[in-house]
């Protein structure tokens, strides 16, 4: 029997010969461990007392029947997708000067803003491109991002008005420029809204999110959140820094009280010095984040009203359904340049908004170049070719396809190369452990966004 024939035979044992390489992960439960085959993102939760038996029999056999399907699925997810979304910065300017912003200060202070004609021209070009890669009738997603997109209100609203039936639109905004008329316009057009707030009190929130004169906008943002309370397509992002990391549980209570359904508790990106200076300690970040997740579950049990922490939910989704994840930050290669790309106010194309402040990562210009050419440019290829397998210690990490070693822009700034682990490595480790605990306890529904089951189908279950 040659090696190919041997490899085709089901192996009785894991971790020897042709058997699968199973990693055993402590997930913080007294009786249960996770067994993971990292390459295929296969996992099983096993009673500790039965681990030896499982590794020597049931799991290798069970895995062998599906390994090829799982590996093909991961290959398609990681290398077979084409863009279906764009981040779009209609202006370089921002009316705020947050300490951790990943865009250069001179750009935000003195940058350019698109006219309505320029913006509509850009959307037309994007539609032409997406028509070549998306199935007929499928709408691409377009997220107006910042800087502060509401600075380009006239142009942005003109684009939404003209193309509302051809894109799924979203706006990520600091909320400070949203008046009643703007809120009516956005909600009546079904636009997804992301707002930003960093703390449950003005004293803390205004430390990091303030205008050029140092004035914060806590009261205004809370007022806007209240106005969106009944709007289903609204979420709030909190950037976690040293200023607010100890207050995440209070933040959860605060948002839940306001009726917010989806939040993100994102660790600050260390893409620039301002972010690096505000980076919370990993252990402190992790401990407080876990407490915040616990609190969302307590509130769900107590009130019956769910509040999804979307950045964690995405990791949980990535464990349960690798292809069902929505954010493409926690998989390698990340989504930058392959699932989406970013368009700057100049029309310059970047793999992701995180790179807009780095001219060396420009892959082309929307008004001058063809998008497919930009997607295969050297700057884009550096990002779309970044794999956990090429990074130490990610190459041997059991959860490498549940974490993805984000984010390459941040990693490049911190480590000088994109092929280095996340500065928040321990934070991602603990999120994976928490996800497995959620599964072991059968609490998935309490943490996943509504509609997850309808968007996905079960393809395998241990029986």
């Amino acid at each position: 029997m040659d090696s190919a024939q041997q490899a085709a035979q089901p192996s009785r044992y894991a971790n020897t010969g042709f058997g699968p390489n199973f990693s055993v992960l402590d997930i913080g439960l007294a009786e249960t461990v996770a067994v993971i085959e990292p390459d295929s993102a296969y996992w099983a939760l096993v009673n500790k007392d039965e681990l030896g038996e499982a590794l020597a029999g049931g799991l290798p056999a069970d895995f062998a029947e599906r390994a090829e399907d799982f590996r093909q699925e991961m290959q398609a997810l990681r290398f077979g997708l084409t863009p279906s979304a764009a981040y779009f910065n209609p202006t370089e300017r921002c009316n705020l000067n947050c300490g951790y912003c990943y865009l250069p200060e001179e750009m935000r202070r003195d940058g350019i803003t698109m006219t309505p004609e320029q913006l509509c021209d850009a959307l037309e070009r994007l539609l032409s491109y997406f028509a070549t890669v998306l199935p007929e009738g499928a709408k691409p997603q377009l997220i107006f991002h910042g800087s502060e997109p509401m600075v380009a209100r006239e142009a942005m609203f003109a684009g939404i008005e003209k193309y509302s039936d051809r894109f799924h639109f979203g706006v990520q905004t600091n909320a400070t420029l949203l008046d009643d008329e703007a809120i009516d316009f956005l909600t009546s057009h079904g636009v997804g809204i992301g707002l930003s707030l960093d703390a449950p009190t003005a004293e803390i929130a205004n430390r990091t999110r303030k205008n050029w004169n140092g004035t914060g906008y806590f009261d205004k943002v809370v007022e806007v959140i209240k106005k969106f309370a009944d709007y289903p397509a609204m979420n709030v992002i909190t950037t976690v820094t040293t200023a607010n990391v100890e207050h995440l549980v209070e933040m959860v209570d605060f948002y839940h009280e306001l009726g917010v359904g989806v939040i993100m508790l994102n660790p600050v990106r260390c893409t620039r010095k301002g972010g690096q200076d505000l980076k919370p300690d990993n252990e402190v970040m992790t401990a407080n984040f876990v407490k915040a997740l616990d609190r969302t579950h307590e509130l769900y049990e107590k009130t019956g009203r769910k509040m999804v922490v979307a950045n964690f939910a995405n990791i949980l989704a990535g464990v349960i359904a690798p292809t069902g994840r929505r954010l493409m930050c926690d998989i390698s290669p990340c989504g930058g340049g392959r699932c989406f790309f970013a368009v700057a106010a100049t029309g310059d194309l970047f793999p992701c908004s995180e790179f807009i402040g780095f001219p060396e990562y420009k892959g082309g210009n929307l008004f001058k170049d063809e998008i497919p050419q930009a997607l295969v440019s050297e700057p884009f290829k550096e990002i779309t070719g970044r794999k956990a397998e090429d990074i130490v210690p990610c190459a041997s990490c059991a959860i490498r396809h549940f974490c993805g070693a984000p984010c390459p822009a941040e990693v490049k700034e911190v480590s000088g190369t994109v092929n280095a682990p996340s500065p928040f490595c321990q934070f991602y480790e603990e999120q994976a452990r928490y996800a497995f605990r959620v599964i072991a306890q059968g609490r998935e529904d309490a943490y996943l966004w509504d509609g997850f089951d309808d968007e996905t189908e079960e393809t395998y279950r241990w029986a």
Partner: protein, 125 residues
Amino acid sequence: MQFRGGPAAVIGDAGRPRGFCPVTSGISRGKAADSQLIREPEDLLSNVKLSCTDGKGARTILRGLSGLFCCPGAVPGKPFIAFMEDTMKKSAKKVISYRRRCLQLGQNTGLSHYILLAPKAERSN
């Protein structure tokens, strides 16, 4: 080794203990296929009932049975029956593993931005 029923066909392995017969019990669980009652014809293990949900599950259990007979200290008789019944039931229940797939992946539309994680709002005008 003589088995009746489809799953047994993959275990026709000489040199292992004989006499376990998977038969359809008629017990259903959810959408799964019939469960299996595994009996030893000479009544040595006649009280052992092992549930499985499909042919694959039966194979898993039968593999387990083969392995158990190889265990040191596994001797015919009631102590072994109790040991096996307890172990097999525990093993079947204590493993959690499943996987789902995005229904829209083939259309390149299943992956999106966090803003769109929130339910889509219907246009009202």
